[in-house]
């Protein structure tokens, strides 16, 4: 059945499909707490991808991230009565995932000493982006190339954890600044500072790599102007 057909069916049954996410979550939570525990599947389904990538941003390993995501869902079920509606359910869930992942990292004693982590965040002096004036465009078609996807993944993996977290939540999962701050338990100013650093680090790592590929990988697509995508 197509997604449209499913939605139409859901609508005809007077289900939750046409509610805002917050209203949908609130209704589901109330029903789950009243005993319809099976509905927890539906409550978490829209956020299961965010959970995984939140855990992955900390753990950097697929299996560990998946384990942490499963544990997160079980903890959320157990502690659902503690959820307070002043925060969004999605950010509450992701904050559990981040905490679970960090606890696992500590437990595994694989926390690496990352010198940039402890550097003063506000100190961006001396940071210089890669200045490559003839590279501005990367066509989306490039993502069909495994090599390009791997370049992007490796670049994120190179970032210290605090920068990976904000980048994955804000720029991959597209949380708002406020939601990212809430999920990470920091204020919005901290998120913005980390985001600046994370984005410039990504630019510094990737611009030269992608530029060097441009002739071979991107030469066919030069007609697309990068700036016009936004």
């Amino acid at each position: 059945m197509t997604k449209t057909a499913l939605n139409a069916e859901a609508h005809s049954k007077g289900s939750l499909a046409d509610q805002s996410p917050a209203a949908r979550d609130a209704e589901l939570i109330a029903r789950i707490l009243a005993g319809e525990r099976e509905l927890f599947h539906e409550l978490v389904r829209p956020y299961e991808k965010s959970l995984y990538f939140a855990a992955f941003s900390v753990l950097q390993n697929e299996q560990d991230a998946e384990d942490a995501a499963q544990e997160t869902v079980l903890k959320a079920l157990k502690n659902l009565h503690r959820f307070r509606a002043e925060s969004k359910f999605s950010t509450w869930l992701v904050s559990i995932a981040i905490n679970e992942a960090r606890a696992r990292l500590r437990h595994a004693r694989v926390l690496k000493l990352e010198s940039v982590d402890s550097a003063p965040e506000e100190d961006d002096s001396g940071f210089t982006p890669s200045v490559i004036s003839d590279w501005r465009e990367v066509p989306l078609e490039a993502l069909e190339r495994k090599e390009v996807r791997e370049l992007l993944q490796k670049a994120i993996a190179r970032l210290p954890e605090i920068y990976r977290e904000v980048l994955l939540l804000r720029d991959v999962e597209e949380f708002s600044i406020a939601e990212t701050a809430s999920a990470l338990g920091v204020n919005e100013g901290v998120v913005k500072t980390r985001l600046l650093r994370a984005r410039l680090m990504m630019q510094k790592i990737l611009a030269p790599q992608l530029a060097s590929k441009r002739g071979g990988l991107f030469g066919l697509f030069r007609g697309k102007a990068g700036g016009s995508w936004f």
């Binding site: 599947h41 995984y52 990367v138 992007l152 994955l168 600044i177």
Partner: protein, 80 residues
Amino acid sequence: MVLNCRHVWDQISNYIEDDVAPELREAIEEHLAHCRHCAAVLDSTRNILYLIADDRTFALPVGYSDRLHARLQEEIASSE
């Protein structure tokens, strides 16, 4: 307001977020119009963000959702 390249880099993230005051935005755009290096930094940063946001860049492990819900179902069933 006249900005140098460093000022523009410091604001590049907020600029992408459209989170700068109108006067500052105007000054940044004035700088970008005359500095091809900063214009290239802005474009390349934006495009990298565009690429990493694409679903193809970060894919979930195959079967992740099924395993998650199976584990959840075990928990729900065991506590009933």
